[in-house]
Amino acid sequence: MMISGLYGNHLDIKTAKTMALAEEIKTRVIEAMAPEVIEVINESHKHAGHAGDNGTGESHFRIIVVSARFENCARLARHRMINEALEPVFKKGLHALSIQAFSPSEYK
């Protein structure tokens, strides 16, 4: 399955296996948040060889999520919603996750 914006220009070095974590992040956020916009950006290459690089090429991600469920929620609560949805992915080796969470009205 091809998802635009998933890997930026680093798609070429990714194998089917290493697509797994990014796919799972996306799937779980969609299930939990019913987002209008979801972008999963793998930034692991920026941290290659640094602390937390586990060699899988899927350790550091940035996500942009736009969901009506964030309406009237403080930042901390929004991040907790995402973290909770992604708990199984953290257990699988997700090391760092940068979150940009917007309600639809904030995103416009």
Partner: protein, 112 residues
């Protein structure tokens, strides 16, 4: 997670106005996200206690369990969890962090 670790965390966050659980130290951060928070606090001129989780595996896992937050850094102000790098940066950019620190009497109010 043993009670000892939670007790240690409770003691640290109650005895210090600002505590940053981070990778590395304030003078030598070993992670870009930790470094960002150090830079922000330094720029505000807010003194803080840095706790290097890389030096203590119990604290490293313990603080994640205590806060119920999966990543490091973690910033505590007056015993209250404020957030990780993204939240701290957003709050700094909007001025909320500076206002919060001034309201709590940790830093001087900003010049209007």
């Amino acid at each position: 997670m043993s009670n000892d670790v939670f007790e240690q965390i409770k003691q640290d966050i109650s005895q210090n106005d600002i505590v940053l659980y981070m990778k590395g130290t304030a003078s030598f951060p070993q992670c870009g996200f930790s470094a960002t928070v150090v830079q922000i606090l330094s720029q505000i001129g807010a003194p803080f206690k840095d706790i290097n989780v890389l030096e203590n595996a119990d604290i490293r896992q313990g603080i994640k369990d205590f806060t119920n937050w999966p990543t490091i850094p973690q910033l505590y102000i007056k015993g209250e969890f404020v957030g990780g790098c993204d939240i701290v940066r957003d709050m700094f950019n909007s001025g909320e962090l500076q206002d919060m620190l001034a309201e709590k009497g940790i830093t001087s109010p900003r010049a209007a």
